[in-house]
């Protein structure tokens, strides 16, 4: 490279360009916090339907699965850019939700004989919190 091509001013200009391009790129990943939030709402609704409203398990789970499939289908069709480690983060959120709800909270509340709606709503909120945490963390990036 010729000695006179890169001046400090040019270097600063290119560093500014990096920041600008990066900001635009990150803006294209704004759908991800909304996807996480949609998962949280869907998970909470699933809990309320099953444990508060007493919906039958298979139809409720079927609707839950269809809603998630529609969400992911919309993402797959429309997203133009994906944030770093989004699949990993979402996988951790799903796994944590499943463990919290199916392995810990649901059996615990049934063992304790907790039948009040407030218990189950609280359990649903706690179980869905990994999705909310994922949405919060990704929105701050």
């Amino acid at each position: 490279m010729p000695d006179n091509e890169m001046t400090p001013h040019e270097a600063e200009r290119q560093l500014h360009q990096v920041a600008t391009v990066a900001a635009h790129a990150r803006r294209a990943t704004r759908w991800y916090p909304w996807l996480s939030l949609a998962h949280a709402v869907t998970a909470l609704t699933y809990t309320v339907a099953l444990d508060v409203l007493g919906a039958p398990w298979w139809p409720a789970t079927g609707v839950f699965a269809v809603v998630l499939a529609l969400l992911w289908s919309a993402v797959a069709r429309n997203h133009e850019a994906a944030p770093r480690h989004w699949i990993r983060d979402m996988g951790i959120s799903v796994a944590t939700w499943a463990i919290l709800y199916f392995v810990m909270l649901d059996p615990a509340l049934q063992l304790l004989g907790a039948t009040g709606a407030s218990w189950w709503v609280a359990a649903g909120v706690v179980a869905a919190s990994p999705f909310a945490a994922c949405a919060f963390a990704s929105a701050r990036r």
Binding site: E5, M6, Q14, L15, Q17, V18, V21, A22, A25
Partner: protein, 113 residues
């Protein structure tokens, strides 16, 4: 001691390739059309740049069938991420040499301000 500009990567230094890597450095992957719009270049220019970057193992290109059309996805490799970070560090060093050579001006004694 050599000037830091000698550490600049000539492959990354091109404006289009530099902007592409700047975008990809913060993403898991990006669509070809999105990159072309972001960097404001033609499809052929972006394609040439991506080919050069892929040949140097700085990016990976993946084609995916989406209904009737094919979408092209690009992601930066670990090597590309490290090379880009090094290039940015070098630019920062060069920018800092300018700050060292031109210290902030202080008012002279007797200035009204």
């Amino acid at each position: 001691m050599t000037h830091p500009r000698r550490d600049l990567d000539s492959l990354i230094h091109s404006p289009v390739r530099f902007s592409v890597l700047a975008a990809l450095a913060h993403l898991e992957s990006a669509d070809f059309r999105f990159l072309a719009d972001l960097v404001e270049v033609s499809d052929s220019s972006l394609s040439q740049s991506l080919t050069a970057l892929a040949d140097a193992d700085l990016v990976e290109i993946r084609k995916e069938a989406a209904g009737r059309r094919t979408r092209t996805w690009v992601r930066i490799t670990d090597h590309g991420s490290e090379a880009f970070s090094q290039h940015v560090r070098t630019l920062q060093e060069i920018a800092d040499t300018g700050a060292i050579e031109q210290p902030s001006r202080t008012p002279l004694k007797g200035d009204a301000s």
